[in-house]
Amino acid sequence: MGDTKTQSTVVDEEFEAIADLEKLKDCFECGICTASCPVHELLDGYYNPRILLETLFLEKTAITGEEGLWLCAWCYRCYKRCPQGLKPPEIFNNAKNLAVRRGVTEPMEKALARILSSIPLPLVTLRLCFHPERAGIDEALLEELVSKTYEREVLSRKPETEKHVDKKVAVIGAGPAGLTLAYELSRKGYPVTVFDALPEPGGMLRKCIPTFRLPREVLDKEISRLQELGVTFKTKVKIGENLDFQKLWKEGYKAVFVAAGAHKCRELRVEGVELEGVIHALDFLSKANSGEKANIGEKVVVIGGGNVAVDSARTALRQGAKEVKIIYRRSRAEMPAIPWEVSEAEKEGVKIEFLASPKRFIGENGKLKAVECLRMQLGEPDASGRRKPIPIEGSEFTEEADTAILAIGESPDVSFLPEEVELNPDGTVWINPITMETTMKGVFAGGDVATGPATVIEAVLAGKKAAYSIAKYLEET
């Protein structure tokens, strides 16, 4: 990083565009951002957002030379917990922008090499999490750079020679957490078999993430690399139906990793949900992503404020909807969806109706015609830390719509798990926070099934942590 370009002095005005620079003075370096950051853990502390923010504060002219800027995975976990409400992903992105404008490329190249060599599922996470293109890099150039670096850093590397043939590991769920664990353990020489109920591996990555965000070739490439590493995939296998835990132990599996995700849509209990035209977000996305033409109308409303709601809205636009409106019961500040992606959706034309909640769906001849909504106001914060929406009486208004996509949250379907695996009150699987072991010996869990819906990078971290724990467990038994 010592070249003249990165060291050159930068005029102050260029920094004025950096978001929250003034608010940064409120930072007391409590460390919450770093301790919340999945990449900090994935890279064993190499990336530290707190120190990066401090660099920006102390010697901002040096910031464009920082590789760390490019290692932020946009999960906004730091922002959600920051006592001062800072948005490090956006602060860093502005600094990256500045680096691009100034032609400082070396730190980005280094970061790419590091991501591709050290982060599991690098091609997927680069697309879905790290987003170097958001800094304004030419996408074709970036594409070329990625494939060149991938060649050099990943494909040329030999897997470990050590083999633990007798220590088979079963993974339930071929989503990002399961794939990561398979990747990590197979590289260490453990035989890994990944089971999945769906016809093809990928989990939410294949079923729900829109193809415009993740081209399926990229996912396929990642999976074929896992196959090259020796991972076995067994799809269309439903635990509890074609396979059970007893059988797994009998077949010689020494440890099980449950990474079944959160595929159950939460139900909305209002009048008219049974109408034709009222559909669940995951069904809609899965249909749209499989290439089928989803059956939606021209005026679409999406109920919910999470990432699935935003993905549904953007997909609906691409499926030909003329008008797409998200209806969310709190305000923008409380939206669980990634803020950046919300603004991207808005740029594409998605409208958002804040502080509103559906009261009933109005039909005509069994078909949805309009949604009657109720205005909300925010009260005191509830146990989620967000201000609670309170309906305003008599504030009803109607939105015309022929399709309503329900995306009010997802939860795991854990009916297949043996009773020994205890659950949390919210229906997720309880795991030891450090070892990720469930209450059943030899059974570990991670990803959405244990945390509820989260980002891809968080699932990747769960997979990596579980891989470490399982390897340790297998060594000890």
Binding site: E41, I51, R81, P83, G85, A383, W430, T439
Partner: protein, 809 residues
């Protein structure tokens, strides 16, 4: 001077004496004082003008006194330092020579001239002449005035029976005043009664508080009103009328607190005093040392809540027959001269920080809950027991700044007491169970008070581990109910994952929920953090801006016991001063109502920050309550009919200053209106700091920027001024509660008017300058130079035309 003398003085011919002070070389170093004096002697009504080396010296004062007598002077102008410094001195000189003190005027040629224009003697001398001219023109219009007196009733009300309220009440009662102490809970004692030990001395909290509580209960000068709420407050300094609601206890004072009733009561609820960690019955006493000790029945919980007696267990158990379900709420009217607000603070509720799991994980508790657990009189008999399994934890973590120093979760300020409280708590654990491993997670440890650092060191020496970096999350181990704290040790740049048996969230303090109500009833102001705002942060730290009201304890800001007690004694002393004097003089700055001009439109009533004007719409009458008026003058500025004459800052006097300042070279000048408390003082501070700025500004002082009527600004432009500056205290810091919001409104209206008329609105500037912001004031004047320089003669003429009407006043 009697009223008769006043009217005599009015009839006399005006004879002004001007004294130009050298102040050694402070003024004479950059201003030719002799030349200024000579100039002054040419001004109208001036019968003599002298330059003196030190006008404030005894010698200088003698000269003025002699001249007043010898030359029959009836107005005196001293051109020297800031009136904020020596106006009282010279007013006294005038009074000693038999001249009403309101006939004295000052020109500030030191802070506003010689010190800020050190290197241009000619320009500084010219400016000094202008300032003297402005003072002389104003002096000619000054009127003598008699200050009115308001009696102060020698009784006080203390709101809140925590340690601050207790101390204030005792101090006042010991001085000999009668005190009403109103407490909303059934017992006095407040937060201090809940706390186990106090830092840094580790005294037993209730042991040192209980004797004071009992003193309050027995003091002949104290009327204790517990279980009572303030309903309404009317009146003003010296004469407040307060309505108090005394809720029925349903137990008479015959109660001996034997407790037989509670033993048989079938109903239970969480005990508020133990923060819900223990239970109480429907008939109960909050804690053993309660004052009064009389039991109370929670009628909402009691089986007899509907008014029908379905359970008489307590009645039967009471030998003294002290239970009376017929008791009714009582409204009591009090008349008091002073009020001390000591309503205390609430604690932050950490359940809104989901990642800390408070409310979800039984072994995560707050620092207040900890106090009850470690207290021998508390629900666990002083044993620190984990709520999950009633075991004593072997490892404990404290998490600091929960709800404090956060822009998002909680409050942005530091709660002041939590660091030391945690250190004390850690030592308490060490004292009882020395083997306990204790971690404190912090961002900064603030051990700033007497004996605090020693306590901090002691904790470190006893093995308490301090880790810099707050946990990002706390997760529970399902089997053991132990807790993992995950965070970054920011000094080591490493993640920590530490397992403990119990977590204590060191929660911050926030304003009491009742703060809104008390603020409204007493017309108080609050600072940004929500606590009550003092009249002056340094020099009047316990006074409210509203006369006769004082603050004690956490009502004003989070503070520890020692500071609360200190402040309470200070508040008592301040209230005592008023009551000992028995009366208060009101500066003659209040408005005079001209009934003929008044249309009873009520605009003045709306802008008065003190509710000091009452409107009688039917009789087309307003009434000014002089004692409540603070003299900001915003009513005078608002009145469209000239029906309110602001004494000592009349329209004519201010206009005379504007006219004098714009007589020569108006098109190169800035006319600045500065409020007395902040911006004028800020300009003084620029002088004291010798911050240099251009000479072309002429400052006119008003008590508040709210006094600046739009017509003053228009007049300055109509007279050809290049630019006008209006300057006041920062919004929220106004010395007249909120009068400067009127300033903002008026300036914004003027801007619109200028824009509409095609004038460059930049010629009118508004700036908030605090008394400490000398540089900001100077910078504003510098910043305005390009505007002044770019104003064309055509623009000047156009403004003159647009505002022509202002010349008619």
């Amino acid at each position: 001077m009697s009223e008769k003398d006043v009217s005599k003085a009015e009839a006399e011919e005006i004879r002004i004496g001007v004294y130009v002070c050298h102040c050694g070389l402070n003024i004479a170093g950059s201003v030719d004082c002799a030349e200024v004096a000579e100039f002054a002697s040419t001004l109208p009504h001036v019968v003599l003008a002298k330059d003196l080396r030190y006008t404030c010296s005894d010698q200088g004062q003698e000269i003025i006194k002699q001249d007043i007598k010898e030359h029959r002077l009836n107005r005196v102008v001293v051109a020297s330092c800031s009136p904020r410094l020596h106006e009282p001195t010279f007013r006294k000189v005038c009074e000693e020579a038999g001249l009403n003190k309101y006939l004295f005027e000052m020109a500030n040629i030191r802070e506003h001239c010689s010190w800020v224009h050190l290197y241009n003697r000619k320009a500084a001398t010219e400016k000094a002449k202008d300032l003297v001219k402005m003072a002389v023109m104003r002096a000619a219009l000054l009127q003598p005035a008699v200050e009115s007196e308001v009696p102060i009733r020698p009784e006080a009300l203390v709101i809140g029976g925590g340690v601050a309220g207790i101390q204030a009440a005792l101090d006042l009662a010991d001085t000999g005043y009668h005190v009403y102490l109103v407490e909303k809970e059934p017992s006095i004692g407040g937060r201090m009664a809940q706390i186990d030990k106090t830092f840094p001395t580790m005294d037993c909290s209730i042991c040192i508080l209980a004797p004071k509580m009992s003193d309050v209960g027995h003091h002949p000068n104290i009327t204790l009103l517990t279980y009572s709420e303030i309903l309404d407050v009317k009146g003003y300094i010296g004469n407040f009328k307060v309505k108090v609601l005394k809720k029925p206890r349903y137990v008479t004072s015959d109660c001996t607190a034997c407790g037989e009733c509670a033993k048989v009561c079938p109903m239970i609820a969480p005990n508020e005093f133990d923060v819900g960690l223990a239970i109480r019955h429907a008939i109960y006493t909050p804690f053993a040392q309660a004052v009064p000790s009389t039991y109370v029945i929670d009628r909402e919980l009691c089986l007899n809540k509907e008014g029908v007696i379905v359970c008489d267990k307590c009645t039967k158990a009471c030998e003294r027959q002290a239970i009376n379900f017929e008791m009714k709420p009582e409204e009591i009217e009090l008349e008091v001269g002073t009020i001390i607000v000591a309503i205390g603070a609430d604690v932050f509720d950490p359940s809104i920080i989901p990642q800390y799991g408070y409310g979800r994980y039984p072994n995560v508790i707050t620092s207040l809950e900890f106090e009850r657990l470690i207290n021998a009189g508390g629900p666990s008999g002083g044993k620190l027991l984990r709520p999950s399994d009633m075991q004593i934890p072997k490892t404990v973590a404290f998490v600091q700044c929960v709800g404090s120093r956060s822009e998002k979760t909680g409050k942005p300020y530091c709660s002041n007491v939590c660091c030391m409280n945690t250190i004390k708590d850690a030592l308490l654990i060490k004292e009882h169970w020395p083997e306990t491993q204790i971690y404190v997670f912090y961002v900064d440890i603030r051990a700033f008070g007497k004996g605090f650092e020693d306590l901090y060191r002691r904790a470190r020496k006893e093995g308490v581990i301090f880790i810099r970096g707050l946990p990002a999350e706390i997760v529970e181990d399902k089997q053991t109910r132990d807790l993992w704290l995950i965070g970054e040790n920011t000094l080591q740049k490493k993640l920590y994952r530490i397992r403990v048996g119990m977590v204590i969230l060191s929660v911050g303090l926030e304003p009491r929920k009742e703060t809104d109500l008390i603020q409204r009833l007493l017309t108080l102001s609050r600072s940004k953090d929500g606590f009550f705002m003092e009249a002056h942060p340094k020099l009047r730290p316990v006074d409210a801006a509203t006369g006769g009201i004082f603050f004690a304890g956490c009502a004003e800001s989070p503070k520890d016991i020692k500071d609360s007690v200190t402040q309470a004694s200070a508040a008592a002393a301040r209230a005592g001063i008023l009551m000992a004097k028995g009366k208060v003089t009101v500066e003659a700055l209040t408005p005079i109502w001209i009934p003929e001009k008044c249309q009873a439109c009520g605009l003045c009533v709306k802008v008065c920050p003190y509710n000091a004007i009452k409107l009688d719409k039917e009789r087309k009458k307003i009434e000014i309550i002089e004692a409540a008026c603070a003299g900001c003058g915003t009513c005078g500025a608002e009145c469209p009919f000239g029906a309110l004459v602001m004494r000592h800052f009349t329209d004519e006097q201010i206009i005379a200053q504007i006219d004098a300042a714009t007589e020569v070279d108006a098109d190169k000048k800035i006319i600045a209106f500065c409020c007395n408390w902040c911006s004028y003082a800020g300009a003084d501070f620029a002088g004291v700091s010798r911050i240099q700025y251009p000479e072309n500004v002429r400052i006119i002082r008003t008590m508040c920027s709210g006094r600046v009527a739009p017509k003053f600004v228009e007049r300055a432009f109509a007279r050809g001024a290049a630019a006008v500056l209006v300057s006041g205290c920062h919004l929220g810091d106004c010395h007249y509660i909120n009068a400067n919001y009127q300033t903002k409104k008026r300036v914004e209206r003027l801007w619109k008017k200028m824009e509409k008329a095609g004038l460059n609105k930049e010629r009118l500037q508004l700036v908030w300058v605090s008394a400490a912001e000398g540089e900001k004031f100077a910078a504003k004047i510098r910043e305005m130079q390009p505007i002044v320089e770019s104003v064309t003669p055509e623009e000047i003429e156009k403004a003159k035309e647009v505002f022509q009407k202002a010349l008619e006043l």
